[in-house]
Symmetry: C2
Subunit: 292 residues, 2 copies
C-alpha cells in the first residue's frame, strides 16, 4: 500500500519529530532534515537555515517550498510505501498571504497526475501519488486558531482528508487542552471546514461505533512527539522528553493523544483514508475539472 501524507505547519512545531515518532523510523534527523540516504532532498533547506543566520535581514524571504521524502515502512506485518510531503516556509514569513497556494497546487497536480495515468493504455500499473491525508499542525497558544490556520483549512478540506493536530501539546495543561479543542472545533464549524471522520458502517458492532465516536471527539489530537529514549522516575525506558520536573511519555495515553493519532492514521483507518480519497475527494476533483 502507498500512504501519501501531507504535513503542514509553521517551522518548529515538531512536524519532522512527529513523523519520525509515528513511523518509528528516523526519516528526519534532529534538525528536521531527511536522514543521510534522503539528505539530498532537503539539502536546500539546511542551507537556508545557515543562510538566514548570516544574510542581511529585510531581504525577501524564500517562499513556501514543497519537499518529498519516500521510504518503506513495515507496520504490524503490513508493508507501506510511505511518502511524506512537507511544505517548509509555510507561515514563517512576515507576509504569509497566499502561502497555502503552492500546497493546494501540489494536491491538485497529484490529482492531475492520476487523471493522466487513468487515461493511459497501461493503466493497471497506476502509481497512486494522491494525498491521502493532511496533518495540519496548530500552534499550541491555548487561545484560538489564527487567521492563517483557517485560510489553510478552508483551502484544502475539500481536496484531502484533513486531520488537524495541536502541536507540542505538552505546553498545555489538560484543562487548557479541553478548552482549546472546544474553541478550535467551534471556529472550524463556523468556517464550514470538514475534518476527516472515520466512516460508520451499519454493520459495525457497538465497540467499533464507540471507539470511532471517541476518536472523533478527541480531534484535534493534542500530540507530543519524540524518538529519544529517556528514563522515567520509576526506572522504565520510554520514548519521551525529560524535564527537571518530570518525564513526558509519548506512548502514554494520559500524557497526550499521540497513540490515538497513530491508531487513526496507521492501524485503524488507513484503508478508509485511501478509499475516501479515491471515491469522494478525487471524484469531486474530477467533476469540478470537467465542469470548468
Amino acid at each position: 500500500f502507498s500512504l501519501n501524507l501531507l504535513c503542514v505547519g509553521q517551522g518548529g512545531l515538531g512536524k519532522s519529530t512527529l513523523i519520525n515518532t509515528l513511523f518509528n523510523k528516523q526519516l528526519y534527523d534532529l534538525e528536521g532534515k531527511p536522514t543521510e540516504d534522503l539528505a539530498a532532498l532537503k539539502l536546500e533547506d539546511s542551507e537556508n537555515l545557515s543562510e538566514s543566520l548570516e544574510r542581511p535581514q529585510g531581504e525577501e524571504q524564500p517562499s513556501v517550498k514543497i519537499e518529498t521524502i519516500s521510504t518503506d515502512i513495515e507496520e504490524n506485518g503490513v508493508k507501506l510505501a510511505l511518502t511524506v510531503v512537507d511544505a517548509p516556509g509555510f507561515g514563517d514569513a512576515i507576509d504569509n498571504t497566499d502561502s497555502w497556494v503552492p500546497i493546494v497546487r501540489e494536491i491538485d497536480s497529484r490529482f492531475d497526475q492520476y487523471l493522466d495515468a487513468e487515461n493511459r493504455i497501461d493503466r493497471d500499473v497506476i502509481q497512486d501519488h494522491r494525498i491521502h491525508a493532511c496533518l495540519y499542525f496548530i500552534e499550541p497558544t491555548g487561545h484560538c486558531l489564527a487567521p492563517l490556520d483557517l485560510e489553510f483549512c478552508k483551502a484544502v478540506h475539500q481536496k484531502c482528508n484533513l486531520i488537524p493536530v495541536i502541536a507540542k501539546s505538552d505546553i498545555l495543561t489538560d484543562e487548557e487542552i479541553e478548552q482549546f479543542k472546544h474553541t478550535i472545533k467551534t471556529q472550524l464549524d463556523n468556517a464550514g471546514v470538514e475534518l476527516f471522520e472515520p466512516p460508520q458502517y451499519s454493520l459495525d458492532d457497538k465497540d467499533t461505533v464507540a471507539r470511532c465516536a471517541a476518536l472523533c471527539t478527541r480531534m484535534p489530537f493534542a500530540v507530543v512527539g519524540s524518538t529519544s529514549e529517556v528514563s522515567t522516575p520509576d526506572g522504565r525506558r520510554v520514548r519521551g522528553r525529560s524535564y527537571p520536573w518530570g518525564v513526558i511519555e509519548v506512548d502514554n495515553e494520559s500524557h497526550s493523544d499521540f497513540v490515538h493519532l497513530r491508531d487513526l492514521l496507521i492501524r485503524l483507518y488507513l484503508m478508509e483514508l485511501r478509499e475516501k480519497t479515491e471515491n469522494v475527494l478525487f471524484e469531486r476533483y474530477r467533476s469540478e475539472k470537467l465542469m470548468s
Copy 2:
C-alpha cells in the same frame, strides 16, 4: 517611581500571565484581559476575540492596537507606579508587514510627550511616560528567530532597553534552551541588535560583577509564568503549572529563568533601566529629532 514596561509578542505567548507573575498581582485575568477595575481599557480586545469566532473569515484583520494598564505595585517596601503597554494584534495576522510601526510610534510619542513637558513652565512636576524597558516574547520553536522577531528588535533596540525572553520555555528541554539561546544571540549580533546590559561600575565588588555577568549570559531569559497555586509531588504549595508528568515551579531557578528576569527588572536594575532611558536613549532621540 514609575516603571513603564512595553510588552510585545504574538498572541498566546503568555504575556499577560508573565506580567501577573512578575508583579504578583492579577493585572490581567485568565483570558489575558485587564481585571475588573481595568476592564474598560481592554473591553475592545475581548469583543474582538468573540467576534473573530463568529465573523466570516477572510475579512480584514484588525491591525496592531496599543493598550495601557496602570496600577500601583509595592515591591520590597518600594512603591512603584507600574504601566504596562501592550500591543495586541502584533504578529497575529496573515500579513504582518510593518506591524511594528504602531509600536515604534508609541515609543516616539512618549519621548515627544516628555520633550514637550520639559519645555513647560511647571517642569518640576513632569510625569515620566517614557518606555523604560521592552520585553519581547520569542516563540519557543527551538529553531531560530523568525524574520518578524528580527525586524522588531532592529526597529526598537535604539529606542528602549530591549529584554528578549523565550516565552513558555517549559516546552523546551534544558539542552534545547541552551542551543536556542546560542542561535538567538548569534542572530541578534549579526543584525547589530543591542540588548539591555546592566552597566558595570569600576567600584563594583567581585560578587556584583559576577552576578551581572551571569545575568547577561542567561539572556534571553527562558521564562515560565503562572499565578495559579499548585501542589508539588512532595506536598509544597507553589506558583506553577501542573501536568500529568510533573509540576513546574515558577520560582524554582532550575525550572526556568523567571527569577532572574524578575531580579533584573524589579530588584536589581530598575534604577539602571530608568537612568539609561533618561541619559542615553532619550538623549539619542532628542538629538536625532533636532537634526532632522
